[in-house]
Symmetry: C2
Subunit: 180 residues, 2 copies
């Protein structure tokens, strides 16, 4: 084991802004925004939500979503997350929204999807997975603002085959601290 | 100066795939796909292209595009790239395309935009910047396949106010090596 990197902020040669550079080994840690891929998944008019088994927001409900990995497309990543978190096979039919969250340096690419078969179960990062009718959704126990946004944006284009993806709702620039 | 990181591939505790870990300092280099933000920019029916002053593909023509930085939205990043590479102020009106390029671990988010004022010039990463009518575009000197895709996708929705963003063209999964 080693003590871990010893980063300090400096502007590398040829760059135009500060980056974290390791004093021990010289590594330059270019931090770019990360892509979160996910989906609002429905089945017979109900919404597939997973209760988080991990922090942040353990115990709160979310749509299947997580960090995109290398070697996959955006839609493949969203399908993988549904498999991992909800043991669900999904069929994606549209890009529902692209949310920019500078506060946590994320771009969230949320799709519209249906269950490809009616089975699902909690994966290792979920405490439970359930289908909720709209009026049953536990709105006070939703994990993140963007889950609220995505569910409401889903409703705004219900039944529409083709539409431009939504972005952040007005006044929500993804920069303000969360209320919890 | 130091020798730089000494990475070897190993599966960190609690992870499910190999990551590069530095033998010198223990840093885990989580490599996620990077976001490229850009725009097809037009003015009076002509297309704004920049000739690249940097590798890869120095001397070839591209649309303004580059890596998204922290602290900005997707659209803000695309506008920043147009400023940096073409000294151009742009007005974005739609998300034209989301291309997944697993070969180079990129997701490219290309917008549709117009020049907000008719001035532009080569930035430090460009040799020159010009407006081309469609029939004047130097198709044999285009830097990257996704620039071809974006220009043709722009034409496919010319005059349409609202449309879903395009993805990779059929048969182009972004995994095959480039022909050059
Ligand atoms: Zn180091
Ligand atoms: Zn190191």
């Amino acid at each position: 084991m080693t003590a871990g990197p010893d980063f300090h902020a400096t502007i590398p040669e040829g760059d135009d802004r500060e980056r974290d550079v390791c004093r021990t080994c010289g590594f330059v840690n270019y931090v770019n925004p990360k892509i979160v891929v996910g989906a609002v998944v429905t089945h017979d008019g109900r919404f597939l939500l997973a209760r988080r088994a991990i922090e942040p927001r353990r115990g709160f409900w979310t749509i299947p979503a997580g960090f995109m990995e290398e070697g996959e497309s955006v839609a493949e990543g969203a399908a993988r997350e549904a498999r991992e978190e909800a043991c669900a096979d999904i069929a994606i039919d549209a890009l529902l929204a692209v949310y920019s969250i500078p506060r946590i340096s994320q771009v969230q690419m949320i799709h519209r999807a249906a269950l490809a078969r009616p089975e699902f179960a909690a994966g290792p990062e979920s405490l439970e997975v359930r289908l909720f009718a709209w009026d049953e959704i536990p709105w006070d126990e939703i994990a993140f603002p963007s889950v609220h946004w995505a569910l409401h944006h889903w409703r705004a284009v219900e039944g529409q085959a083709a539409f431009p993806p939504f972005v952040n709702p007005p006044g929500q620039d993804g920069r303000a601290p969360l209320p919890y």
